[in-house]
């Protein structure tokens, strides 16, 4: 290779191209190293730490086991009833604050669990805890609408109340004239 020829005017266009490729390549490699996270590619084509972050989300929904720790009597009531498939939270809400207060009371006897009257939850809003004998709670599942399968026990409200001879048809607690939410069978 004739070094003089390499750097002569004849080869200027080639040198420009080679220079651009080298500089462009080096620049691209640098940008790549800054933009691609270091753990990319360890478990697959994604940032490996993202998987652990997703798995680390806290569990919000409480299972019945949490409630039954204190409310064992309800658990026994429901053991034989068809409502044992219904979760506590369906009728009473998730109750995060109540459970937090109860856990705190377990550790230190001084802390007080707020009484039921202070819960401000409501079935329609789905907030926290509430005791409800409101017919809307029952009807959310048991109201017969277009689409309800035949295999499920659902009612047309006015017909059912008439058949069963309910006293206060307009009352929000009319279901409780005959049924108990925990063991609704008659």
């Amino acid at each position: 290779m004739n070094l003089r020829r390499l750097f002569s005017r004849d080869t200027r266009h080639l040198r420009i191209v080679v220079f651009l490729i080298v500089v462009g390549g080096a620049g691209a490699m640098f940008v790549r190293s800054q933009l691609i996270p270091p753990d990319f590619g360890e478990r697959g084509p994604y940032r490996a730490a993202a998987l652990d972050e997703e798995a680390a989300h806290p569990l919000i929904l409480q299972s019945d086991a949490t409630c039954v720790k204190c409310h064992m009597d309800v658990h026994e009531e429901r053991a034989e009833s068809p409502h044992k498939a219904v979760r506590c939270l369906h009728c009473h809400g998730n109750g995060r604050e109540h459970i937090a207060a109860a856990m705190a009371a377990e550790d230190s006897p001084d802390s007080v669990i707020p009484p039921a009257e202070e819960w401000d939850g409501d079935f329609q809003t789905g907030i926290d805890l509430f005791i409800t004998q409101d017919r809307a709670t029952c009807l959310a599942c048991h109201l017969s609408v277009v689409g309800t399968p035949e295999s499920f026990r659902s009612i047309n409200v006015s017909e059912h109340l008439e058949e069963q001879g309910a006293d206060e048809i307009e009352s929000p607690n009319v279901c409780y004239e005959c049924h108990d939410g925990h063991s609704p069978g008659l």
Binding site: E42, P45, A50, L51, A55, R87, P149
Partner: protein, 300 residues
């Protein structure tokens, strides 16, 4: 003697003769023709340049192996944090989901459970339940189950006399084997976990919403609070701790079933082999892992 092409027209073959002519070419640098010496050096240059280029290109496509020490450290971290945060990802596990539309009563318990568990913003949903109403005149109406279930006012909205049949269809992310959402993501924010669950890396997502367009089932949405793409993850944080997804936990009639497809004795595997099941939009070739029992062909 070969034919000389003299472009500059400065005499015939003047620089192509062996003595004074080649010297002239050397100094002036351009004659418009070449002699044998130049041909040889040009050929040898091309040969060397080609070899170098091919060699360099081959080196550049070698996989970049991370530093071995770094990798060992990360593995140790992965195992120790796995115990604290939850089960570490497992490649042998394959999750599946089964929905029995004949059992769904449209209670909407799954919807509130999902919203609470995953902090889904109002107006968006990671899962929803559709109601298909087939009227006797052949039309089909599709509407949504309200989140707190139907109220007494809703019951009388549709004239039962006109209805041929109706049923509820819960919908959520299908966690496709060949997920279009992952293919189109420009930054690899949308990815598949080792268990086959499609997830979104909130840190990498740039909010372009290409994946939202790409999903044929419409399960993805742009979360207004985080600015990232969001979707049902089959409650990945629950299933990796041997819990069930929130919607499965909440369903009072067991219309939703979750389990491991790799375990032939799991409930879902046994039910899938017992009755015919279908998937949504099978013709698109996405191979969903969400199976339906009881879907009629109108459900898309």
């Amino acid at each position: 003697m070969t034919f000389e092409l003299n472009i500059l027209g400065n005499g015939e073959g003047s620089c192509c003769s062996s003595d004074a002519g080649s010297g002239q070419c050397e100094t002036s640098g351009s004659c418009g023709c070449s002699d044998q010496l130049d041909e040889d050096s040009r050929r040898s240059f091309l040969r060397k340049a080609t070899t170098t280029t091919i060699g360099a290109f081959s080196l550049s496509v070698l996989p970049m192996a991370p530093d071995a020490g770094e990798q060992a450290q990360k593995e140790i971290n992965g195992h120790s944090s796995g115990g604290a945060k939850g089960a570490s990802p497992n490649e042998d596990v394959l999750y599946g989901f089964l929905v029995d539309t004949s059992k769904c009563i449209g209670a909407g318990k799954c919807l509130t459970a999902c919203r609470e568990e995953n902090n889904v913003p109002e107006g968006y949903a990671r899962t929803w339940v559709e109601r298909f109403v087939h009227f006797k005149d052949g039309t089909v109406q599709v509407d949504l189950v309200p989140e707190t279930g139907f109220t007494e006012e809703d019951a009388s909205l549709i004239d039962r006399e006109q209805v041929d049949r109706a049923y509820f269809v819960p919908k959520l992310c299908n966690q496709c084997e060949e997920a279009p959402c992952n293919q189109v993501c420009p930054v690899h924010a949308s990815y598949t976990s080792p268990e086959g669950v499609e997830l979104v890396d909130g840190d990498r997502c740039i909010g372009c919403a290409y994946c939202v367009q790409a999903c044929p089932y419409g399960v993805r949405f742009m979360n207004p609070d985080t600015g990232n793409a969001d979707k049902c993850t089959w409650c990945y944080h629950r299933i990796t701790r041997d819990e069930k997804p929130a919607c499965v936990e909440a369903c009072p009639v067991d219309a939703r079933v979750f389990g491991r497809l790799d375990d032939p004795n799991s409930e879902i595997s046994r039910r899938l082999s017992a009755v015919p099941t279908s998937v949504l939009k099978e013709h698109l070739g996405t191979h969903p892992k969400l199976f339906y029992i009881g879907n009629s062909e109108e459900v898309i």
